[in-house]
Subunit: 254 residues, 2 copies
């Protein structure tokens, strides 16, 4: 049985609380943070308490707070004897120094308090400073997911960049499409089958192979029509830059 | 029973052949086009023939060819008495003039010969020049799909622009993410759960509400780290332009 303490009361912490509570191999000793969440019922007995009261007997302390709050939590923890891990994609493990047994437990997923997550397929990216802690961290990860990966800080930063394209930038493309529908009074749900098939195809063929459209086939008359339909120069700029990027991608492969 | 002739031997034609062949309300009289496809077994008796031999007794002639070939097909058809429709998203119905009974039958989906399509949920966008033909075209659309929409040429052009963001540009974002994984020897499949959740969330919440990440929260230190990880100026430009577009989107709402 692994005893775990969670620090933080945001979405990542809420979802990890749920995952750890469901696991028979994990005992969640408590959740520590600034504020109690109204939208979340903590498992009974796990009150939100001040970080200075963190249970020193935990095997693993998981810091699930905003990126810029990790250092201040590390300072409040002082010289912990537990394995202390953070959950951030773009923050090196070393920000947890001088804690001796430090590591990372990064869930590669967008976590929202009100969305169900399939933990079993959720990729967990692990790193730790002490070789002896690998087994402990692996055990914690396997208690909630079947997709466990050892990724060092440099790799994780790159993976996080790829995640920004996959999540933030894909979402912004969908946002632009929805905006056009709203502006012209077209039902945005009409785009959903296309969106689903786009993703299914990219996953099966690979996105490089799956690319179609006016940019990759060099259809200048459609590109010009589209630019004329976009009212602001910022949106024209966005369209032009992505079109140029697609063309650049395929030209360089010829 | 509607009798239909298909012109074209590309992916759209192949998928429509399959859909019409499965429908009990449609009799496919023939497929006309330049070349026989090796990857497709035509329903028995439907040989690919020259466009000049098109069966004049068809109720509806569907031109499913590349955008820039529509006009030349229209010229070869001459003064047809059938309802003649094209299947292109960004081409006005009027390119079919002087054919009197002209229209559009635009499937809002990315169609590949080797991918199964759920026709029933596939949005079909219809338009026709003669009011009397609405029922006929509606009947053809309903014979293959439950998602039938009357969309004029101006609306269809806008919808096609939204489709470019949804399909081509979303795919390019996934392509960029995969490229980072390949470059740094990370398994690109790790991104699939994130991609699925990104799309699921955008559909449920709307993409505007679903936006997260360094751009929307103004996290300049992460943005700078990411720019340093992108080796070429073209990819930096892409990252910067999308980041600025996200920021612009949310600033203008404040």
């Amino acid at each position: 049985m692994l005893s775990v303490v969670l620090i933080g009361t945001g979405n990542v912490s809420v979802k990890l609380q749920q995952a750890f509570s469901l696991s028979e191999e994990v005992q969640l000793l408590g959740v520590f943070g600034k504020e109690e969440r109204k939208d979340e019922i903590l498992p009974s007995g796990l009150k939100v308490r001040a970080i200075s009261e963190v249970d020193e007997k935990a095997d693993i302390i998981v810091i699930a707070v905003a990126d810029d709050a990790i250092t201040s939590v590390q300072k409040k923890l002082g010289a912990s004897n537990a394995l202390v891990v953070h959950t951030a994609g773009s923050i090196p493990m070393e920000v947890l120094a001088p804690i001796k047994r430090r590591g990372v437990f990064y869930p590669l997923q967008t976590l929202s308090a009100d969305r169900e997550v399939d933990f079993n397929s959720l990729p967990l990216c692990l790193e730790c400073s002490q070789h002896e802690d690998r087994e402990l961290l692996q055990q914690l990860a396997e208690s909630v997911s079947a997709s466990v990966h050892w990724i060092n800080s440099i790799e994780r930063e790159r993976l996080h960049l790829a995640a920004v394209f996959t999540n933030n930038f894909v979402n912004h493309m969908i946002c632009q499409a929805e905006k056009i529908c709203v502006e012209y009074d077209l039902p945005k749900e009409m785009l959903h089958p296309l969106l689903d098939e786009t993703v299914a195809k990219a996953k099966i063929l690979g996105a490089f192979e799956a690319q179609t459209g006016p940019a990759v086939r060099g259809d200048l008359s459609v590109i010009e029509k589209h630019l004329n339909l976009l009212p602001e120069s910022a949106r024209q700029e966005l369209y032009k830059t992505i079109t140029a990027s697609i063309q650049n991608e395929y030209e360089s492969q010829l």
